[in-house]
Symmetry: C2
Subunit: 251 residues, 2 copies
DNA sequence: CGAATACTTGAGATTATTCAAAAAGCGTGG
DNA sequence: CCACGCTTTTTGAATAATCTCAAGTATTCG
């Protein structure tokens, strides 16, 4: 089902001080001495696109931060229906302190680099210093808000609104990571296949395809190939999401 | 739309030591001296069934624990579509430290008693002692798991599976709060109207009604009136939920 | 270039919704 | 205790949205 390449220990592991996600990840609030303790128990791993990082139910002896790339969290029912329950971007946290088994499948959607911490030492460190737990609480509260926003999408939005919402969210995130100011035209690549989009949105891939095509035909978006999206008028796209018109633009 | 009775300050506010939710709420890990600090900033409020505790977007100057009764968290779209994103039971936490405005509507579904803490002092206390933050992190992680389980339900389950899942969850919770051991027949009252069930499940109330009737006609559940449910065979109900057959019975 | 994967499109079936009306349940006052 | 009005729930019929199955086309990778 998925490729089977092994995770590769990365060749060089950068110092925390030079880390690109230093200010957003679970370690964001750590003092220098705390960082040094983290350095002791951390190691990098790389996964090629498509590879599974952990399977739901598997024992997990580490927690980790996404350094670069994208991973997905998903759940699968006995008969194969799957629902994505989270999209992990750089600085996002993988795993749950205090829990030994993975609750969800974690899959690398692009080439992925993660900064792992051995779980027991991490838990010990967490108990000793409040900074990690404080930051993790903030991040978890944010994720909970995101999950609840997604519940509204899954439960109440139409297929068209779901697609528009997903594109808007990816576009926004992309804009926030990018140096540029407020470009009139937003251009970016979808990091997900149609099937992954379907799993995220609670749709079939055919419905995703049809709705993407519909938005394209109506000029809400433009496509180069199947992945590269141009949004000529962001307001127009937002109007298709079903969300409040005011709600947090360019957060 | 909702009744407009004022929240009533409760007459007597029990000591934390005697509190029924003491061991599960956000204060669960607090030492005696920390409890004393909490006593200083706490006050009780009561809301009659149907009343709104806070509206999304309103300023909230307190956080709170549910002491008794049930409340719902929900989101409403401009055109009135609403999605429930959480069910708050005794010991559950309301509000988010560090945030001034409510993100969701909170509505008392039954008569409700909450233990409020003024927000600023609570935040200060949190910063000073790690016990509250630690417990809040645990609770938030549990809520995140619950939200993600709900995402699977909303995105991938059929109407029938949704209803069966909701009934099973309420039955389980009810069993866990009840003194009895493993009774063969489970009997309990649905704490939600058909409309509230629909809002929780991402369905219309008519579909809820139809599926409840279908389960009744097929003997999966029995009904006395519209609220009182008997489950003659819990395994049979679980088989209708679409979940793994093994997954956490009577957790 | 060829095979494999990803995507699109069509037609028909299915599921859930919408609109409408009737029945059941609930609380109040006579 | 019962009648009345109100809310909640049930049920029906028609409609709309999405899914399923089935090709066919485009894209990617070796």
């Amino acid at each position: 089902m998925t490729t089977a390449a092994k995770p590769r220990p990365a060749d060089r592991v950068p110092d925390c001080v030079d880390c690109p996600i230093r200010h957003r990840a679970v370690c964001a609030r750590c003092e220098t001495d705390e960082l040094q303790e983290l350095e002791q128990i951390k190691y990098y791993r790389s996964y090629p696109a498509g590879q599974t990082v952990v399977w739901a139910g598997d024992r997990m002896d580490f927690v980790a931060s996404v350094v670069s790339g994208i991973a997905t969290l998903s759940q699968t029912m006995e008969d194969g229906r799957t629902q994505m329950v989270g999209l992990l971007l750089p600085s996002d946290f993988i795993g749950r302190p205090g829990r030994d088994d993975a609750t969800y499948d974690v899959v690398a959607t692009s080439d992925l680099v993660v900064c792992c911490f051995r779980k027991r030492p991490f838990e010990t460190l967490m108990a000793r210093t409040p900074h990690i737990g404080q930051r993790l609480l903030e991040m978890t509260l944010d994720e909970l808000d995101a999950a609840r926003e997604w519940m509204l999408l899954l439960g109440r939005k139409t297929a068209r609104e779901k697609i528009a919402s997903l594109i808007a969210i990816i576009a926004r995130r992309d804009a926030s990571l990018r140096p540029t100011g407020a470009a009139r035209e937003v251009v970016f690549d979808l990091p997900l296949t149609r099937e992954a989009m379907a799993d995220y949105l609670g749709l079939t891939l055919e419905t995703v395809s049809r709705q993407v095509s519909a938005l394209r035909k109506e000029g809400v978006i433009r496509l180069e190939g199947t992945r590269r999206v141009t949004i000529p008028d962001f307001e127009r796209l937002l109007a298709e999401t079903g969300d409040d018109s005011d709600g947090g633009f360019l957060v």
